[in-house]
């Protein structure tokens, strides 16, 4: 155990670990020191100065976010001097911020707004000086408004420390300081993987998703279009907190009802193709295990991870599952299978997805994602955009009666629902792979070892495979790209040194916590909240009659009627994809590194 330090904060004594900051020690006492740039999941950027405290014996105020505790310290967290300082500091920040609260996406969740409001600052004390810098709209996923940026540096820290993407940094100095990309080319021409974590950590509305709600409304209000919608597994658990319900409440029935009220013609569910993904990916895994293919197999559901892999680990592209993500499988199936079954002209179908994710917007726009003959997914909305549509439609979400989705592409199992939490895809895959290999179900479907918020999780299980004997399988799960990088470095090194890796199957999710912590999820979450959201999904799974993807009747039907069998030629044509090597400088494709669709089959 490390050394304990005794100190007094506001007259209360506390003992904390050496190295704890004053701000954290105060939080342990339940004292929340006002702050702006501080975020509990990030190393302090020490930008704003709002968290100043007085320490007896020290000449001036100290910043509590970055001052470590010392034995015998006597700290005062409030005084006339500190209040006056904090007010001036917030007034200064406001004087350099485009205060556009009524139209700002962060309105009501903005930490600057909260602080300014609570402290009763004088908005007019300083002259407003905001340079007219243009909004960076170069990215299909994330837009950045420098006029709202308060240069707190959180986005830079999350991008480098948690995601290890290093797409952005502070450039210039003094008043000219701003967050920018390499050569200031914009996020769309950078190594940004579109994960959107920067938007979730941004205290103001400077970083946001690219807004597509207008396009979706236009499609819905166009009588000539058939608008079909799918919703990702994690959406059903994160809507609740935006409508005054307890965090982690699953609101799937209300979600369908709201979509119908908004006017979507067909309301389906991405969970359906999550189960389909397991069938395809599970088959791919088994083929590789049996046929001596490249192992480990690495999941490809997370488009942020996929671009990260293409940028930093293109040598591991062959290890990455060729399966499209559930969103893209859904998109392809809507314009082929669904159109055929309902006898609809696919050209008139508008395929919309609601995702926890900003990278899904990028994924939908990847040029190769049009195997249906059309753009497989036309518009991608994040949870935040969907919430705005619900509010625009004046829907009282909390009291909506539950409704069911439409037939054909909405049935799902518990395995699909847990896709939304880190480890969920792994758990779902193990459940079905076990069945496919052993010919019987796992005794206990809850695989605890791959659940939870540990950065890298590992599990070893033995599958009594028919015809192969007991098959030991080691798997790993990583979430957050810095963890993914650590794991991939290890895999790369093992392959380099011995020609193979200890792992057979790896799940990677770009965002900490998995999709429940996605970059398109509600603003202002700390990582601990993401576990609460994940638990909601595990509860739904636990309560379902069918908890394994191969039990999904809709999936059985789609294979019977359309796809023949998992890994069939038509599956490979429609449900699988290829990867590219990307430039670290601007994110563009350098070359294709895996085989084209038609060649997958062999």
């Amino acid at each position: 155990m490390s050394k304990q330090i005794q100190l007094t904060i506001d007259g209360k004594e506390i003992s904390v670990e050496a190295g704890t900051t004053i701000l954290e020690a105060a939080r342990q006492l339940g004292i929340l020191i006002p702050s702006l740039c501080y975020h509990p999941n990030l190393r302090p950027t020490a930008s704003c100065g709002v968290c100043v405290v007085e320490v007896a014996g020290m000449p001036g105020p100290k910043r509590s976010c970055c001052t470590p505790v010392e034995a015998g310290m006597k700290v005062a967290t409030n005084s006339r001097q500190l209040r006056s300082l904090r007010k001036t500091l917030v007034e200064l920040v406001l004087s350099n911020h485009a205060t556009e609260c009524p139209t700002c996406v962060a309105n009501g969740k903005c930490e600057l707004q909260d602080l300014a409001n609570a402290m009763g600052v004088d908005f007019d004390r300083f002259q407003l000086i905001v340079d007219d810098k243009p909004i960076d709209e170069s990215s299909p996923s994330v837009h950045r408004d420098p006029k709202k940026c308060i240069a707190c540096g959180r986005c830079v820290t999350v991008c480098s420390d948690i995601q290890s993407v290093f797409a952005i940094d502070m450039v210039n100095r003094g008043f000219e300081v701003n967050v920018n990309t390499f050569f200031k080319e914009g996020l769309g021409q950078s190594s940004c993987v579109n994960c959107g974590q920067c938007t979730v950590f941004c205290p103001t509305g400077a970083l946001r998703e690219r807004n597509e709600t207008d396009d979706v409304w236009d499609a819905i209000l166009d009588p000539g279009k058939i608008v079909v919608v799918q919703e990702a597994p994690s959406i059903r658990v994160t809507l609740a907190e935006e409508f005054g319900m307890e965090m982690g409440t699953v609101t799937v029935g209300k979600m369908y009802a709201a979509l119908k009220k908004i006017g979507f013609d067909y309301v389906f569910d991405t969970n359906f193709t999550a189960d389909l993904t397991i069938m395809e990916e599970g088959t791919e895994l088994i083929e590789r295990v049996k046929g001596g293919g490249l192992l480990p197999l690495i999941t490809s559901c997370s488009p942020g991870w996929v671009k990260f892999m293409e940028t930093y680990f293109p040598d591991l592209a062959g290890h990455t599952s060729t399966c499209k993500s559930p969103q893209q499988m859904f998109g392809t199936m809507v314009k082929t299978y669904f159109a055929k079954e309902k006898n609809l002209d696919p050209a008139k179908i508008v395929s919309v997805s609601i995702m926890p994710c900003t990278a899904k917007k990028f994924e939908a726009r990847r040029p190769e994602m049009c195997d249906s003959g059309y753009r497989d997914v036309d518009y991608v909305l994040t949870t935040r955009e969907f919430v705005r549509m619900i509010k625009e439609a004046k829907i009282d979400f909390k009291s909506l009666p539950d409704e069911s989705p439409d037939e054909l592409m909405a049935s799902y199992t518990g395995a699909a629902t847990i896709f939304g939490a880190t480890g969920g895809v792994m758990e779902a895959a193990i459940r079905s792979a076990y069945f496919l290999l052993a010919g019987k179900n796992l005794d206990n479907l809850d695989i605890q070892a791959v659940r939870g918020l540990d950065g890298i999780k590992e599990a070893t299980l033995t599958i009594p495979a028919q015809g192969l004997g007991d098959l030991p399988v080691k798997v790993a799960v990583a979430h957050g790209l810095d963890n993914a990088r650590t794991l991939m470095d290890k895999v790369r090194e093992q392959i380099r040194a011995t020609g193979k890796s200890e792992y057979a199957f790896i799940e990677i999710m770009a965002c900490p916590g998995g999709c429940v912590g996605g970059g398109g999820q509600p603003y202002g979450s700390v990582i601990a909240d993401r576990a609460r959201r994940g638990q909601g999904l595990y509860r739904e799974d636990k309560g379902m009659a069918k908890r394994q993807s191969h039990e999904n009747p809709g999936v059985t039907l789609i294979y019977e009627k359309f796809l023949k069998h998992p890994g069939s030629e038509i599956s490979h044509k429609l449900l699988h994809t290829c990867f590219f090597e990307r430039s670290l400088l601007n994110g563009s494709c350098v070359k294709e590194v895996t085989k084209k669709h038609a060649e997958h089959h062999n």
Partner: protein, 544 residues
């Protein structure tokens, strides 16, 4: 070796180079050769004399005479009149050379400006020795202190003790006791829990001189780079470092060139590198060029920059003495601080303590500039009065005007008015008068100067140089600039001076590094001593 009857010294610094010193030198050498005088009279390059704006300066020895503003066409006349006929050239600006190194400053001298005697500890060799020739440096006593330490096998602790006893305080502005800094660095624990040694520690010379109006470090670097090498080697020996860096401001091209040449020569002479002077002690150093950010003069920003990162200051604590370059114990010392070390080791702490004041022993290098007769670089004892510096060394106010104020310590400095002219120039006395010694810059303003204009340019400087990491400094400097701008336009608003002061105080109390904490000084002193200049007209409208 030939004996010359006369030596002509040509001080090389960026001012004289621009004024054409090399053209003068070439003409001089050609003329001497033509007249077959080149065996009698030797032309030498030296470091700076410390004079600004006097063009090419030519010094004749042993006659101890300066000529200023020398042009190529004057060369023939100087040879004819002075070197052959032995009389001062009429019509050429000239002055006798004062005895710089040995003068007793305790005795009040009536002499002013150039003829004023100076006690030179730091600058003793800068203007008499060719810094590019290590043989000259060695002959003039260079590297004797290093030889003493390694030859007499003084322990690192003994060296630190001597520096502590000398009472030497950092000349970079903060005045922290150098011996203590070295002791902390020596005793700092490495992450493994044992005392870190060898390559796990670093000595850095802070030569990123960026304080406006200050150029003392440059002239030391240009004039006596070997002294710094010697001092850094001693420091490395004392703290247990195996490697050192000289972080030189990128614009100081001549400094970098000379320092590099000196490092190369020192390596050749086994004064740097492995087994220095055939002992077990090894040490080497290299130059890192700064990229032009004022904030990189702050030691933690400097270290970040040295590591190849954006030069933002670090959060302190921990301090560099325990977590410096690459998180290893590091001593960062200013150029002038280090330049005192060889003399302290050679002559002893007692000798050093006899110079200057009790709490601030030693000399201080000042740069005098602004409205004085003789702007330039001088060295004098700590505790010399401001009046003496301006009116004796500086030759008084130019053009017979009246003195209005002096800005001490550069942009991060303090305005002092006429009634405070007798303040003693040392850390303690200045502190008592709410002023700072800072970098040693003395910017003199005559009666025609507007304090508001001065403050405006200072605020502009700070706004430009803020690194932008802390919002109090990033936005605060900009708001202060706005306020001074409108006051300057005659459009100040009621309450503006108070708001400006409140902003500066907020920055002082909440900024991370000295840059943000400094603007309070010029603002507070300007408002205190010259409040009438900031009176705002209530009838005026806001400047759009």
């Amino acid at each position: 070796m030939s004996i010359y009857r006369t030596h002509i010294l040509l001080p090389i610094d960026e001012g004289t180079v621009l004024a054409g010193v090399f053209e003068v030198k070439r003409r001089l050498e050609n003329e001497l050769k033509t007249r077959k005088l080149d065996k009698e009279i030797k032309v030498l390059e030296s470091g700076t004399v410390g004079l600004v704006g006097k063009g090419v300066i030519l010094t004749v020895y042993p006659d101890r005479m300066y000529y200023f503003q020398v042009k190529e066409n004057d060369v023939a006349r100087i040879i004819d009149e002075h070197l052959l006929k032995g009389r001062v050239v009429a019509g050429l600006a000239h002055a006798p050379v004062a005895d710089m190194a040995t003068a007793a400053t305790a005795e009040k001298s009536a002499k002013v400006g150039l003829t004023r005697e100076q006690r030179r500890v730091v600058l003793d060799k800068t203007w008499t020795v060719d810094p590019q020739n290590i043989n000259e440096v060695l002959a003039a006593g260079g590297y004797r202190a290093l030889e003493k330490i390694l030859g007499d096998s003084l322990s690192p602790e003994q060296v630190i003790e001597e520096v502590k006893k000398s009472g030497l305080r950092g000349r970079g502005g903060a005045g922290f006791p150098t011996g203590m800094k070295w002791e902390f660095t020596r005793k700092a624990q490495s992450s493994a829990g044992r005392t870190a040694t060898g390559t796990e520690k670093y000595i850095i010379c802070n030569a990123d001189e960026g304080e406006p109006g200050t150029f003392k470090d440059r002239l030391i670097l240009e004039g006596d780079p070997h002294k710094l090498i010697e001092a850094m080697t001693i420091a490395a020996y004392a703290i247990g470092a195996g490697r050192g860096y000289v972080y030189i401001r990128g614009e100081y091209e001549l400094s970098i060139e000379r320092m590099q040449a000196a490092i190369d020569q020192a390596r050749e002479f086994n004064l740097l590198g492995a087994n220095i002077l055939e002992t077990d002690f090894s040490f080497d150093l290299q130059i890192k060029k700064g990229a032009g950010a004022y904030v990189c003069g702050e030691e933690t920003a400097l270290i970040e920059s040295l590591e190849g990162k954006r030069g933002n200051p670090r959060v302190k604590p921990p301090y560099p003495v325990s977590h410096g370059l690459w998180q290893k114990p590091t001593a960062v010392n200013n150029v002038e601080t280090l330049a005192n070390i060889p003399a302290i080791i050679s002559n002893g702490a007692g000798w050093f303590r006899n110079i200057g004041t009790d709490k601030c022993p030693g000399t201080k290098v000042f740069t005098i500039l602004g409205h004085v007769e003789y702007p330039g670089l001088i060295e004098t004892d700590m505790g010399t009065s401001l009046r003496e510096i301006i009116f004796s060394f500086g030759g008084g106010i130019k053009g017979g005007k009246k003195f209005k104020a002096a800005l001490l310590g550069g942009a991060a400095g303090v305005f002092l008015p006429e009634p405070l002219l007798d303040v003693k120039m040392d850390f303690e006395s200045l502190k008592e008068n709410k002023a700072v010694l800072g970098s040693g810059a003395v910017l003199v303003m005559n009666e025609d100067t507007s304090i508001v204009d001065m403050l405006f340019s200072i605020a502009k400087f700070f706004a430009h140089e803020s690194c932008g990491q802390c919002s109090p400094c990033r936005i605060g400097t900009q708001q202060i600039l706005q306020i001074i701008y409108r006051i300057r336009q005659g459009k100040g608003l009621p309450g503006d001076p108070e708001t400006m002061l409140n902003l500066a105080e907020t920055m002082f109390k909440s900024s991370l590094c000295p840059l943000g904490q400094s603007l309070i000084m010029p603002i507070k002193s300007a408002l205190e001593h010259f409040p009438e200049e900031f009176k705002v007209n209530n009838n005026n409208e806001v400047n759009p």
